[in-house]
Amino acid sequence: MLLTNLEIVPGHRIVKHLGLVQGSSVRAKHVGRDFMAGLKNIFGGELKGYTELLQESRQEAVDRMQEQARAVGANAVLNIRFSTSSVTAGAAELFAYGTAVVLEG
């Protein structure tokens, strides 16, 4: 499965459009990470726990999108976009979407 945020892939031709596919994941952080983040709020610096957490959940969103694309019979997802929104104070939603297509060549 080819994933890209370009609209066209050089050297390939789009033979079929299969529409929008999407994947999302909502994650909450656990108390230990929150505590460390509280300390970091005093000293400043990177919150490694959060970076990892968001990376994991973004990967999950991409995986779900890929699964959906596979289900409709695509071999590539083009024009992928990411978006983040905080649902409540403790949780964030990571969202990935793109266009499922069949590529040739």
Binding site: L2, L3, T4, N5, L6, E7, I8, V9, P10, G11, A37, K40, N41, I42, F43, G44, G45, E46, L47, Y50, T51, L54, Q55, R58, I80, R81, F82, S83, T84, S85, S86, T88, A89, G90, A92
Partner: protein
């Protein structure tokens, strides 16, 4: 009185450790930017037709950075008089450059020569205690790496 002592201690801790962390981070950013300068990150959407990569991969880089206590206090004061909030400017600058560097690093590991259609996304992570406390921000950089 005890409250005042705690407040001043936090302020001092934030000032010293925050400055240390920031200057160390900037040094590392500048060093890595030089090392990764050979992989350009391009923001344009449509690749030139003479580029014929064998493979394209989606690369991402993200970082969550928090501002220190002292700078948050300064920004609070700034809110009263208005004007440039320099303490937050350096925070978002560091976060963006770090995210782009991480994305480029992923591209380097995959053997790419350039990254196309780079997009940056910034979101603030709320701590939930107060409505307007911009404790920390997340920056995500993503693009398509061309592998020759």
């Amino acid at each position: 009185m005890a409250d005042l002592i705690i407040f001043l201690t936090l302020l001092a801790l934030g000032y010293f450790f925050g400055r240390l962390a920031e200057s160390r981070h900037y040094r590392s950013i500048i060093k890595r930017e030089k090392a990764l300068a050979r992989i350009p990150a391009i923001a344009s959407k449509i690749p030139s037709p003479d580029l014929k990569p064998q493979q394209t991969v989606l690369v991402t880089g993200s970082v969550v950075i928090s501002v220190d206590y002292f700078k948050r206090f300064l920004a609070g004061l700034r809110n009263l008089v208005g004007g440039r909030v320099k303490s937050y400017e350096s925070l978002v600058d560091r976060a963006r450059r770090e995210a782009v560097l991480r994305m480029k690093d992923q591209a380097r590991v995959k053997g790419a020569s350039l990254v196309f259609n780079v997009k940056l996304e910034t979101s603030s992570i709320s701590q939930g205690r107060r409505e307007n406390s911009i404790g920390s921000i997340e920056v995500l950089a993503y693009g398509t790496a061309f592998i020759n």
